[in-house]
Amino acid sequence: MQTWVDNVGQHALRSPAALRHRFRFGRAAFTATLSVPRALRPALREATAEQIWRSGVRQLPFIGLVGLALGLLVVGQAVALLRQVSAQRYIGTVMVTVVLRELGPLLTVFLVAARAGTATVVELGAMTITGKAAHVDRLGMRTMRELVVPRVTGLAISVFCLTIYLIAVALASGYLVAFLQGVPLRAGAYCGQLAEAMHWMDFVFIAAKAALFGVVIAIVSCYHGLEQLLRIEEFPAATTRAVVESLAICVVLDAVFLAGYFLR
């Protein structure tokens, strides 16, 4: 009978190999993305557009709703707290620190991983089971370009765009909430506060972070989708693993970017 101690040992021994495996797959996907032959580009562009449509444009209403709620909650709470110390003029700073730098990109990743990441795992898994796609170990460069590259590119672009939309909506709704709560703050002054609290690195980091998060979600989802799945029952576990791994890697990357803020 296997005890939990045996389980821990088993995972400890398997983890490095599993990590190496994923890293090799990610490197192959990245190489394939960067070296697409000219003849394949139109087809790839079409597949990428399809991917952006599914994982980006169609998520827009939900992202808008989340952005609205985010601005409402953050500013609602911040105004209530800042009023007690007569520091309403720091609303812009709070929005930049909380929404623009941290919550905006992370929330977008959560939503995209939960919706587009799971869909990718299921789609590729079904293709593997039905024999339309090869198993991850026998994946040729062509199949990699046809299946993985559009998803990597599409998700990178989608997450980048959705992050910007979410931040824009959250900032706008934040001002709306402040206005409705009677905070004496003009729109120009609010924009000035935002600009004053920002750093040029914020723009670079947001773009880089969002695109990188998209790439991570795509590679992890594709990896788990193209893993050898023998039965339909294994799909839920595979999708859960894909989402958890994606989020874990994104959070770690976010911490690395955070260190970048402190080192500036």
Binding site: P42, E46, A49, E50, I52, W53, G56, V57, L60, I157, F160, C161, L162, I164, Y165, A168, C191, G192, A195, E196, M198, W200, F203, I206, A207
Partner: protein
């Protein structure tokens, strides 16, 4: 040889167009945000605004950093550009270079000073330049750029004095120094405070005794107050009796027999008074009749006087007595009648 047909440019589908709009709009939003950030930062830091250098000296660079804002009248008017240690023999320890933006250097005159004061509780300090009122401006523009500066009261080209005009420093101690001084003052004041606390302790002891006495007093007062209700009820009864004229007090003040005698005497007195009043009434009616009789006598006398006058007048005209009543003619200056 490549015999493959050249791919025909396909017309973009609706999906592709929407995806294109989705991407372009996001990029435009990001670029607009970045452009606004650049514009605001340029406005805030005055990137395109002419600047003029100034310098001053301080004794300590603690809490000062290159890039820190310089204030005047609550505005950020420039920043610290240089902080350098002076040679060991110098009177001042630290050289501080400042750049001030246009138009704020126009407010800095020869009597302006730079105040180095604490900024916050974390040991930070900031430079604040005071507006000038007397003397002359320190900077003279030419073509909207600083051209000449005031050095030792003389106008000098800026190129000849690249450090700019000197600003007199007014350095206040840092928060930590002031805290140290405050601590020393507190230590010096501690014996006095101890003495005071000892006295206060004595006073508190006395107060304790006083409080004990007060407690006893209050206890006694409580007992007295507890005995008060019967007294109060008696007082209430007495006041009720006082309000009743036939109460016990009324009887005590005016006895019943005395009151009866008094009533009889008063009745008799009233009867006598009545009789007297009747007599007085009779006397007045008699007097009235007498007065009316007098009135008739007076009218008879008046008739007698008139008749007597008529008699005398008749006697005057009688021939026998006319001579006895002859009258002399009046003497006058008029001429005699002819």
């Amino acid at each position: 040889m490549n015999n493959e047909p050249k791919p025909v440019e396909a017309t973009p589908s609706r999906t592709e167009r929407l995806v294109g709009v989705f991407i372009v709009l996001a990029i435009v939003l990001l670029l607009v945000g970045f452009a606004y950030f650049l514009y605001h930062t340029a406005e805030r830091k005055g990137w395109r605004v002419p600047r003029c250098p100034y310098f001053t000296f301080v004794q300590s660079a603690e809490g000062l950093e290159v890039g820190d804002p310089v204030k005047m009248m609550g505005f950020d008017i420039g920043e610290i550009s240089v902080i350098e240690a002076q040679p060991p023999a110098s009177y001042y320890n630290i050289y501080v270079g400042i750049t001030i933006r246009r138009p704020y250097y126009g407010y800095i005159w020869a009597d302006s000073k730079v105040r180095i004061a604490s900024a916050g509780l974390l040991g930070r300090r900031q430079l604040e330049i005071t507006k000038g009122y007397a003397g002359a401006p320190t900077v003279y523009d030419k073509h909207d750029r600083p051209d000449e500066i005031l050095v030792d009261g003389k106008r000098t080209p800026l190129a000849a004095a690249p450090k700019g005009p000197f600003l007199i420093p007014e350095e206040m101690a840092s928060v930590s120094d002031r805290a140290d001084k405050l601590l020393a003052d507190i230590q010096a004041a501690l014996p006095g405070v101890l003495l005071l606390t000892n006295r206060l302790n004595g006073v508190l002891d006395n107060t304790s005794v006083l409080l004990t006495s007060s407690t006893g007093l209050v206890h006694n007062l409580d007992q007295t107050i507890a005995q008060l209700p019967p007294v109060l009820s008696n007082v209430a009864v007495i006041t009720a009796n006082l309000r009743n004229p036939q109460g016990s007090l009324g009887d005590w003040l005016v006895p019943v027999d005395l009151r009866t005698n008094l009533n009889a005497q008063l009745t008799l007195l009233a009867g006598d008074l009545n009789n007297i009043l009747l007599h007085v009434s009779d006397i007045t009616s008699n007097l009235n009749q007498q007065v009316q009789s007098n009135d008739q006598i007076l009218s008879n006398i008046s008739t007698l006087v008139v008749d007597t006058d008529n008699l005398v007048q008749g006697l005057k005209r009688h021939w026998l007595l006319r001579g006895a009543f002859a009258t002399k003619p009046a003497t006058t200056n008029a001429p005699p009648k002819k």
